[in-house]
Symmetry: C2
Subunit: 192 residues, 2 copies
């Protein structure tokens, strides 16, 4: 029993690391709790005690990669800070092992309401809160249009990224981020 | 043989109608070419001659519902016309039978490059062309910011809709469309 001495947090981390490794090797469809348990050297029930499903385990494993990438810096310049944060976010979204596994998870969320809810509560909502907090600070410093609707900020900033990741599947580059930010800051409306 | 007399276009239409009916009854995962063939009263090979896969057949069936909803009116007022067109698009995207089957197809596109390519070539690209054409006409009439980047117009206008449809899964309402359009026309940038 190579894992007999591992304690709770270590074991949790080892299982999540194994999930990402095996997910990358096998792809989401072929990934199974059995295979993860075997590779991690634990029993299936050890996994099921912590996670109700493959989707929930994968979501936690992906979140463990994403923690620092989703913080918003505040240097006092909104556009610079948004650019920095969104570059990090797209590097995460578009890179291995995150990208194919995250896309598979979003696919799963289309027919599994539990996965959809977890994705929103644990991944999207915390990001939206951070984004809105940063935008509010910028508004107080006259760096944001006073009429801009903060309730749709996350949809407007993230929507074009997910559109490219999930729909057109073109590369999520920094240049694309620049063009999106330029277009959003310019706005579509004619000059007064 | 109830279908012995059906000609090509009639048969194609009957198979697509059956695909949508059965898709609504069974859901995408349980939908099969066998079941569609049996319900439509044709042989499997009749279907496979026209469509290489369940995804391709479903895409065509969905496209048959979407043709008119995706045209852009031109009354001379860009904001009014975008609102009209996007209302129609979200009514289609959010309504039955389109919504659950389209979401399943996008899920399929996350691991099937053929479905992803067909979705883009047949559904997204034609819409993008129509959107850009309408925006160019508006720019010539000073109804659009002259600096707005038309290459990202489709991502910016559609991204927030797909974000809500696929990620947050909140209702795609006309009120949401209004808020998105207001935010995009206002722009995020501070007042000069």
């Amino acid at each position: 029993m190579t894992n007999a001495r591992r304690s709770g947090p270590d074991l949790t981390e080892a299982i999540m690391r194994t999930t990402l490794e095996l997910g990358q090797e096998l792809g989401y469809a072929k990934l199974s709790i059995e295979a993860i348990a075997a590779r991690a050297g634990v029993g299936k029930h050890t996994i099921y005690r912590r996670w109700p499903s493959k989707g929930a385990l994968l979501l936690d494993s992906l979140l463990s990669l994403s923690e620092s990438a989703l913080d918003h810096p505040d240097t006092g310049d909104l556009l610079v800070d948004l650019r920095t944060q969104i570059y990090e976010a797209v590097d995460l979204l578009a890179g291995a092992p995150f990208s194919p596994l995250f896309k598979a998870l979003v696919g799963e969320a289309q027919h599994d309401p539990g996965v959809a809810a977890a994705l929103n509560e644990r991944f999207i909502a915390p990001q939206a809160d951070k984004t809105v907090a940063r935008l509010k600070a910028a508004r107080d410093q006259d760096q944001l249009s006073p009429d801009f609707d903060l309730d749709v900020a996350m949809a407007i900033l993230s929507g074009p990224l997910y559109f490219r990741l999930l729909i057109t599947q073109e590369p999520l580059t920094h240049e694309y981020v620049d063009r999106i930010l330029d277009a959003l800051f310019t706005g579509m409306g004619p000059r007064p």
